[in-house]
C-alpha cells in the first residue's frame, strides 16, 4: 500500500532557527511529491518535486527530492513566527496527476 511518513510530528523552535522537515514515501509508480503549508484549515501550495525537478527554492524555503532514498526534505532558514503551521507532504502516483496521498504533517511552532 502506498504511504507517506513525515517526521517529526511536531517541532518547537525559536525565531531565527533553521529547521528541516522530513518526508519519506513508499509508492508504486511515483509521479510527483508536493509540500503544503496549512494554517487554520486551507492548505497552501509550496513546492512540487518530480524526477525532472528535484530541488526547489523560494525565499527562505527550499526542498529537495531524493529519489534513491525515497524521501524529501523541506528546509526553512531564519524562521519567523509566521512560519508556525502544519507542513504537509503528499504524492501523486500512477496515471493520476490530481489525486494526492498526504502524510500526517509536521506541526511547527516558532516562538519569538
Amino acid at each position: 500500500e502506498d504511504k507517506v511518513v513525515q517526521s517529526p510530528l511536531s517541532l518547537v523552535v525559536h525565531e531565527g532557527d533553521t529547521v528541516t522537515l522530513n518526508c519519506s514515501y513508499e509508492v508504486t509508480n511515483f509521479r510527483s511529491l508536493l509540500w503544503y503549508k496549512q494554517e487554520k484549515k486551507a492548505p497552501t501550495f509550496l513546492f512540487m518535486l518530480t524526477s525532472s525537478g528535484i530541488e526547489k527554492k523560494s525565499g527562505r524555503l527550499s526542498s529537495i527530492l531524493d529519489k534513491k532514498e525515497l524521501s524529501s526534505i523541506l528546509n526553512i532558514t531564519a524562521t519567523q513566527t509566521g512560519d508556525s503551521a502544519i507542513y504537509l507532504c503528499a504524492f501523486c502516483s500512477g496515471g493520476s496527476n490530481y489525486k494526492l496521498t498526504f502524510g500526517k504533517g509536521t506541526l511547527l511552532t516558532v516562538n519569538p
Binding site: 484549515k41 503528499a90 489525486k99 494526492l100
Partner: protein, 115 residues
C-alpha cells in the same frame, strides 16, 4: 469568485442526521475535488469532478457519502445517517482542467462535528 468558498464553516449535527456541505469553486475552474481531514491526520481524497461528472469517486468511504455538481460549478457533498466517525474537516479544492495537483486552490473547509 476570488477563492474557493465553503459553507457552512462549521456544522454540528446529531448522529443519524443528514448533512449537506457546499463548495463554490473559483470561477472557470472545471475540476473540483473533495478531501476529508480527520483530527491529527492529513487530508484524504474523496472524489474528483470534471465538469458535471464524477471522474473518480474511489475515495468515498461508503454509500452514505454522495456528491453532486449538477451545473459544473457548485458542488454539494451529502452525508446520510451521519456517524461520530464522520467528524472531520471537509476540504474542497478546484483547478483548471488538466492542471495537476500543484494547480489546486483549497477552500477553508467545513468542520463537521457529529454528536
Amino acid at each position: 469568485g476570488a477563492g474557493v468558498s465553503q459553507t457552512p464553516s462549521n456544522k454540528v449535527t446529531e448522529k443519524g442526521k443528514y448533512v449537506e456541505l457546499r463548495c463554490d469553486p473559483i470561477s472557470g475552474h472545471t475540476a473540483l475535488y473533495w478531501y476529508r481531514q480527520s483530527l491529527g491526520q492529513g487530508p484524504e481524497f474523496l472524489i474528483y469532478f470534471q465538469g458535471t461528472g464524477a471522474a473518480d469517486d474511489s475515495g468515498l468511504p461508503n454509500d452514505r457519502f454522495f456528491a453532486v455538481r449538477p451545473e459544473g460549478s457548485v458542488s454539494t457533498l451529502k452525508i446520510q445517517r451521519t456517524e461520530r466517525g464522520d467528524s472531520a474537516v471537509y476540504l474542497c479544492a478546484s483547478s483548471l482542467i488538466g492542471q495537476g495537483a500543484d494547480g489546486y486552490t483549497f477552500g477553508s473547509g467545513t468542520r463537521l462535528t457529529v454528536v
